[in-house]
């Protein structure tokens, strides 16, 4: 009986134990299946997630390319400077460390405060921290001797963007400054990692802001490298795992000519104005100078706020790039274009003659348009009209012009549009049309407007860049290259042909003869610069009136206010008869074109032909 009961009990126990053990084995099996799901099926995802946890990629800055002139002289380079870098995680006592290093390198109170503020965070994450930038040679020497005392600090080479000619290439080269959006260039690296970027420049992540530095930023910048750190869950850097070296930016070989640019700066002096010179073979821009200027070294490497305010508030507006953005009435320098238009539209021919009484009366209204010389120039044909710059001749020519035709003719010569291939922020200036006048002034186009256009006054506005481009087109008889600052290395671009079938080769020769006469003949308006050089030069000067006046006497009163004085303008090309360079010069409020702008143009030309 007892035995039987025990047997029942035992069987009962056994079956229940089996049930529980089966449940347990099922539980273990479920765990195993889950582990299988994680480790075998989900391996790729989880492996990626683990890498994402521990890998911390930071960008490594690349050195920017350097910029050279056409003879290989360096215009902007990367100059090494030396910074003192510390490893705050290795410093036990910040105050005593600063006291110790104080006699070795000079530290201001604000340097120290700034350092103390940042060091904790950097120490926590095992990151480096700059203690002082741009050490002097003495500081470097002193530190090197004592470096064994400072195992937690070292000197690192960092670069600055430096030009040896910081003031004469300001506008064309431009400057760099700190950028906040460098992260956009490498989308794989999360934005928050950029504050730990490994820097090559003392001023951090920089990019071109103006000039070539901006236009060719992609080319100069190179590409960021990547360093992968291993970090732990606290965000501490544990070790460097790998590095992809950055690619240095490409150098930029420009058409700029150091000596000619120097001449432009020297002879323009502190006057407001601009000089542009173009190499006729290549279309290369040899000189692009705007005055006054500023130091790109200061701007690229940290200019203090006061100096910056002075520049910004300077009434001469040094930041304004007059060569590309200055809008000036071209004045008499437009006359060759008007003459070409007249010939090609059969309004005049080279023999057409008028009597110049010194003024032109508009038949419709009786309005009088005066020439620059009281009493006029007597009998004037086109050749003489260029030489003596007869206003009356071109007034009467323009009087017969159709304004729409004339506007598009001027546009085809590069006016009213951007002409430079790679200039920073070039202005289009303005070729007026009746539609333009109506939309801006709500007034109709009148014949007098066209007549004024004939001598480059009125609404027509051009930049020094456009004037130089126009001069090169005249010099090359219509077959010219689009101007560019940087050498177009690969294929030599075919010449751009400006075509006007009605203006043939003999017309071109006559035009060149006339423009040569402007400077080289005894009657030329710009003969005063004839003896400044040994080669022959063709050109056309102009004096842009800022106020419309009836007489010379009235102008004498206006002269007293400098900013109302005429702008002095000239375009030249030479040496003749096979011109190699074209130059335009504008000097604001410089008055007589030939006598004031002329010498600057000649000096630049001389530098270019190495005289």
């Amino acid at each position: 009986m007892i035995f039987e009961e025990r047997q029942i009990e035992k069987n009962n126990f056994s079956s229940r134990a089996i049930i529980l053990f089966v449940i347990i084995i099922l539980g273990l099996f479920a765990v195993l299946i889950q582990v299988f799901t994680l480790q075998i099926s989900g391996y790729n995802d989880y492996q990626l997630a683990a890498l994402k946890n521990k890998n911390y990629t930071v960008p490594v800055q690349a050195l920017r390319g350097e910029i050279f002139d056409r003879n290989g002289k360096v215009l902007i380079k990367n100059e090494p400077t030396f910074d003192l870098i510390t490893q705050p995680n290795l410093i036990d006592d910040i105050d005593s460390f600063l006291d110790e290093i104080q006699p070795v390198i000079f530290l201001s109170e604000s340097d120290k405060l700034q350092y103390k503020k940042l060091q904790k965070g950097k120490a926590f994450a095992n990151k480096e921290l700059v203690l002082k930038k741009d050490l002097s040679p003495t500081e470097i020497a002193r530190f090197n001797v004592r470096s064994f005392n400072f195992q937690n600090a070292f000197i690192a080479k960092r670069y600055r963007r430096i030009s040896d000619y910081p003031n004469i290439f300001s506008h064309v080269l431009g400057y760099t400054s700190k950028t906040e959006d460098a992260y956009k260039s490498v989308p794989e690296i999360p934005r928050s990692h950029w504050r730990d970027a490994e820097l090559v420049y003392a001023h951090g992540l920089i990019k071109g802001r103006t000039g070539l530095e901006e236009t060719y930023d992609n080319h100069l910048r190179g590409s960021y490298g990547e360093r992968v750190y291993e970090i732990n869950a606290m965000g501490k850097l544990v070790q460097s795992l790998s590095i992809t070296k950055p690619l240095k930016g490409s150098d930029l070989h420009t058409n700029l000519d150091l000596e000619a640019q120097k001449s432009a700066a020297k002879f323009l002096g502190n006057r407001r104005g601009a000089v542009v010179a173009i190499d006729l073979d290549s279309g290369g821009i040899n000189v692009l100078y705007s005055s006054p200027t500023y130091s790109i070294n200061q701007l690229s490497n940290g200019m203090n706020e006061d100096d910056f305010q002075i520049l910004i508030n300077d009434p001469d507006k040094p930041f304004f790039n007059r060569a590309l953005k200055g809008r000036y009435p071209p004045a008499s320098t437009i006359k060759p274009a008007i003459g070409m238009y007249g010939v090609s539209k059969n309004i005049v021919n080279w023999d057409f003659e008028i009597k110049d009484p010194g003024f032109f009366t508009l038949p419709e209204t009786g309005r009088v348009f005066r020439g620059w010389r009281k009493g006029g120039h007597g009998k004037v044909n086109m050749h003489k009209a260029f030489l003596v710059s007869s206003n009356t001749y071109f007034f009467s020519l323009a009087y017969q012009a159709d304004i729409k035709e004339l506007s598009s003719y001027l546009t085809s010569l590069g006016f009213g549009q951007k002409v430079c291939l790679d200039c920073f922020d070039e202005d289009k200036a303005l070729v007026p049309t009746p539609e333009w006048k109506y939309s801006i002034m709500n007034a109709g186009w009148v014949k007098g407007d066209t007549v004024n256009l004939g001598v480059g006054q009125g609404y027509l506005l051009a930049t020094p860049m456009q004037l130089a481009n126009y001069a090169s087109l005249l010099a090359k008889k219509g077959a010219f290259n689009e101007p560019a600052i940087v050498k177009q290395e690969k294929v030599k671009k075919p010449l751009k042909i400006w075509q006007d079938n009605k203006f043939n080769d003999s017309d071109w020769n006559k035009l060149h003869q006339a423009l040569l006469g402007v400077i080289e003949s005894d009657y030329g308006t710009a003969r005063s610069i004839r003896d400044l050089k040994k080669f022959q030069v063709a050109g056309k000067s102009g004096t842009a009136e800022l106020v419309s006046l009836d007489s010379k006497e009235a102008y004498q009163e206006v002269r007293n206010s400098e900013l109302l004085r005429d702008h002095s303008i000239i375009i030249v090309f030479g040496p003749m008869p096979n011109p190699k360079y074209a130059v335009s010069v504008v000097i604001e409020n410089g008055e007589s074109g030939g006598a004031v702008a002329g010498p600057v143009a000649i000096e630049v030309l001389k530098s270019l032909v190495n005289e």
Binding site: I2, E5, R6, I8, E9, K10, N12, F13, S14, R16, A17, L20, F21, I24, I25, G27, L28, A30, V31, L32, Q34, V35, F36, L38, Q39, I40, G42, Y43, D45, Y46, Q47, A49, A50, L51, N53, K54, E230, I231, N232, A233, M234, V238
Partner: protein, 362 residues
Amino acid sequence: MNKQIKKIYFDPYLFFSLFLLSALGLFFLFSASNADVTIVSKQFIYVFAGFVIMILVSQPDPDIFRRNSGFLLIFSLLFLGLTYLFGPEINGAQRWVRIGPFSFQSSELLKLAVPIYLSNFLFNKKLPIQRNEIFISLLIIFFCFFIVFRQPDLGTALIIACSGLFVLFLSGLSWSFMGGSLALLILSSPFIWNILLQPFQRQRIATFFNPDSDPFGASWNIIQSKVAIGSGGFFGKGFREGSQTQLNFLPETETDFIFSVIGEEFGFLGVLLLLSIYLFILLRCFYLALNARDRFCRLVIGGLSLTFAANLIINLSMVVGLLPVVGMPLPFISKGGSSLISLFFAFGIIISMSTHKKFLPQ
């Protein structure tokens, strides 16, 4: 029999598999603790002490446990009450008794006392067991569960409840009664959720069902644990090479989440090996339970080994993301002396009960 030389009671299968498990545990702990020799040496001392205790415990005749089971239960409860009054507070819970450099979690004793006491209480009852016997058993289980739960230590409380319920089940609780209680439990679950659970425990359960709700907060642990295990792949990353472990992305590597370390560094193969050892131990216990000399021993071996199994499975399921996070160590592997010592104690009892044979039937 009187001529018998002093015999050492010893089960080679359990002894060697536990030895292997403990050795592996020290090895894993070395990696999980970032090669902290102090931690590993301390754990080594625990393991050594554990083996000594296991061997000592397995020598006397198991009747000693039966006779002293009441005393054991009362002592455990007193001990627990003592810590409740005087113990240091660690992580907001009073669970520890400090003896020199070693601290002991007082609730561990209950894991042994409850199943042994209930086995003693039930082993000579007629089948099927009567209602008032069930009632008394449940009262004891619930009382023990509740005081540990209030510490608060849900993990240990659950294990204690399991240990008691296993014995009750094995001793022949009727199926209809179980069905009824299950229904009652489901009905009362809103009450448990709202009144009994601490806010952080509710949070853990909530994040378990929706881990993406708070990836950097409450569910951080479980996400990182899954990443660690998953990134181990088939062969693992190698000893001390697990980035999740070594760079501290994985929390609690030495204790609750040590299985994730094994998964990360030794891969699916390592997991398979480890689970095989556990399975072997469980099967051996199962065998011993079925062949035990009497009902009391059967119940105790069954109860203790099932408690061990529950402990194991709850830890594993939690770490791989099958259960919400409850604090529970991986038996024989996780750092910590208390659970290790009590486990060795339990296995000492198991060995004692399976090796001492009765020569005369009752």
